[in-house]
């Protein structure tokens, strides 16, 4: 088969392109459906009632919305959203998530740029070992770190609050930001800092006025990853936050974990959709910077 194809391709090179494109298009289509379907299905289902979306009788109820029509008078309902956002105060979790992500991203970037820059420009051997230690910490499961923190936090009476969680998330995230920004800084030639310093800058001015502006793609990419870590965090938030301070992801879990109650599971579904939409928008908005940033770090200039 293969030989035959190669022969045809060689004698008539024109035919080769359509065949490969067809295979590629089919493959991409399958992949797209596999990857995208669960999200679309969840988004669709979030406007139904539990009896439809989790129907044990007929799965097509989720499409037709029979029970939804019977219970609410229309094929779509905002019941899940209303329950989650208003009755269960999901807006508070959203607000908490916003606070946590903003602070985690900002702090991670401040510490990461300064530290990454210092490590990239230091010629000392310990710079290498610091990065290695950072890697070890990064490799550990988050939960091992959190369980270690738990006791002292109780004793100092700082358990359950947002600042505590922010500090822990920044600490967990720092090895990654250090590594990432370190490699970005390495890709910026040392001549740039040096010419800034000869031109009259202090080290810090050279960093602020010359290096950081060149580094924007790298900072945005790293910031985005930090943001995602904080946004998607479950382990830390679930362990360290009290009920009223919970962020979105632990909150969603608590919807599902609570005792079977009609409609409650739909709160979780609509909360999941609510939590996913900002991510889509964010990635679409920053896609150019992300790709630019990733390749800028990968190829040493």
């Amino acid at each position: 088969m293969t030989t035959l194809h190669t022969d045809t391709a060689q004698s008539k090179p024109r035919q080769r392109i359509p065949l490969i494109s067809v295979v590629a298009v089919v493959f991409v289509a399958i992949w797209l459906v596999t990857a995208g379907f669960p999200f679309l299905w969840t988004a669709w289902g979030s406007f139904k009632v539990e009896a439809d979306f989790f129907s044990r009788i007929d799965w097509t109820f989720a499409l037709s919305g029979e029970n939804t029509t019977r219970q609410t008078g229309g094929p779509f309902t905002l019941g899940g959203y209303q329950g989650a956002w208003i009755d269960q105060a999901f807006w508070k979790a959203t607000l908490n998530t916003a606070i946590v992500t903003v602070f985690v991203t900002t702090l991670s970037l401040i510490l990461g740029t300064l530290g990454g820059y210092a490590l990239a420009r230091s010629g000392r051997r310990y710079a290498f070992w610091l990065l290695m230690v950072a890697l070890v910490f990064r490799a550990m499961p988050h939960i091992t770190l959190v369980s270690g923190y738990l006791m002292p936090f109780f004793e100092w009476n700082i358990w359950g609050t947002l600042p505590t969680t922010i500090i822990v998330l920044v600490a967990i995230n720092q090895p990654f930001t250090l590594w990432m920004l370190h490699s970005f800084f390495l890709s910026i030639p040392k001549d740039l800092d040096e010419s800034a310093m000869v031109d009259g800058c202090t080290r810090l001015q050279a960093f602020r006025l010359v290096i950081v502006p060149v580094m924007w793609p790298g900072i945005i990419t790293t910031g985005l990853f930090s943001f995602l870590l904080a946004y998607n965090d479950f382990a830390v938030g679930a362990m360290l936050l009290s009920q009223e301070n919970q962020t979105m992801i632990p909150k969603i879990t608590s919807f599902m974990g609570s005792i079977e109650q009609e409609g409650n599971i739909m709160f979780a579904v609509s909360a999941v959709v609510s939590a996913t939409v900002p991510l889509f928008l964010l990635v679409m908005f920053f896609q150019r910077q992300i790709v630019g940033g990733l390749t800028a770090g990968a190829v040493k200039g």
């Binding site: 040096e194 010419s195 800034a196 310093m197 202090t202």
Partner: protein, 358 residues
């Protein structure tokens, strides 16, 4: 405007010495070239003057002030880097203006000074562009303009031409020579290209292994190299160096005999002479050997013969000279064009007449 004085300056890392006990007096307005192969310590020397590298021992004085512990920004030098070191996020205008801005020079002066600097390096049409939209030569001119815009004590140039192609190198070299003539600022210039050194320098420092081998005017170094290293580094092609023995003013080895040398030395020496001082003759002469290679350079023809250690000895002949490889070439090496070096140490041995001058 300032004179620069290096006193016994050294730079060491652990057990490696990059610059070893270098002492240099650079008068105001001089164009000094540090010349040497890579790793000879020339760039390190410049970076110590700029303050980008710590001084392990010794002192650097500039305009009567000790510089050792000053930050680069407080030394009032400007530097041109091999890789240009331009700020990619700024336009050409902003790049040139950056030193003025950061040093708090009144904003009212900026425009006029930037324009003047840009004019000197013929960059006026490109002021709105970013470095990425410039050619290599234009980028290097931006770096030059940024260096001259604030009229510092001293210019430092670290191999500014080595990233340019051959043609641009010649024109930018001329531009640098012209700038120095116009501004008369003390300039220290690092290069591994002896042509740049010869054409630009008031004085040249030839370095090797962190040690200054010879300091002098280009022609002095060309005419009287202090040792075999300098002899083999300066000139294109490099000076021919031939091992042999000297006795009673006569140098001899299997294919070359030079008599009438004004040297009292006896024993094993290295004889040096330049390809262009040789005259290729059809008969006789004091050198004869089989031709190893023939190179037509257009204005002349180079014959190479093989020395004792497989090194090539080049002889410059008229452009009409024709010879086949393997034929025996005869040449006359005049005694007056010969340099004699100690074979062991490589140091120059002066003849009677030279000693009198020295």
């Amino acid at each position: 405007m300032a004179e620069i004085h290096l006193k016994n300056v050294s730079r060491r890392w652990h057990n490696f010495t990059a610059v070893d006990d270098l002492t240099l007096q650079i008068p105001d307005r001089e164009f000094l070239v540090l010349l040497g192969p890579s790793g000879c310590g020339k760039s390190t020397t410049m970076r110590m003057i700029a303050g980008l590298e710590d001084v392990s021992s010794g002192e650097i004085w500039m305009g009567g002030k000790l510089m050792n512990h000053l930050e680069p920004k407080d030394r009032d030098v400007s530097m041109v880097f091999q890789s240009y070191g331009l700020y990619p996020n700024m336009t050409v205008y902003e790049n040139i203006r950056f030193p003025l801005k950061i040093r708090g020079i009144p904003a009212s002066e900026h425009k006029q000074r930037v324009m003047k600097a840009a004019e000197m390096v013929e960059l006026t049409p490109f002021l709105d562009r970013r470095p990425a939209a410039l050619s290599g030569g234009q980028r290097q001119r931006v770096a030059l303009a940024r260096a001259i815009v604030r009229e510092p004590n001293c210019f430092l140039m670290d191999e500014p031409l080595s990233n340019l192609d051959a043609k641009l190198r010649v024109s930018t070299r001329a531009q640098i020579a012209n700038l120095h003539h116009a501004l008369k600022t003390t300039t220290i210039y690092v290069t591994h290209d002896q042509v740049e050194a010869m054409t630009l320098a008031d004085r040249v420092v030839v370095m090797k292994g962190g040690i200054a081998q010879q300091v002098g005017k280009p022609m002095e170094i060309y005419d009287r190299p202090a040792n075999t290293f300098v002899a083999s580094f300066i000139g294109s092609p490099a000076m021919n160096l031939i091992d042999g023995d000297i006795a009673d003013g006569t140098f001899s080895n299997p294919y070359l005999t030079v008599s009438g040398l004004p040297h009292a030395a006896r024993g094993p020496v290295t004889l040096g002479f330049r390809a262009e001082d040789v005259s290729v003759v059809s008969e006789g002469g004091n050198l004869s050997a089989p031709v190893y290679s023939v190179e037509n350079l257009g204005d002349s023809t180079m014959f190479a013969i093989k020395g004792a250690h497989d090194d090539l000895i080049s002889l410059k002949a008229d452009k009409t000279a024709r010879m086949a490889i393997g034929e025996t070439v005869h040449a006359h090496v005049p005694a007056a064009a010969c340099h004699v070096f100690d074979r062991e140490s490589g140091l120059r041995i002066d003849g009677f007449d030279n000693q009198a001058v020295a």
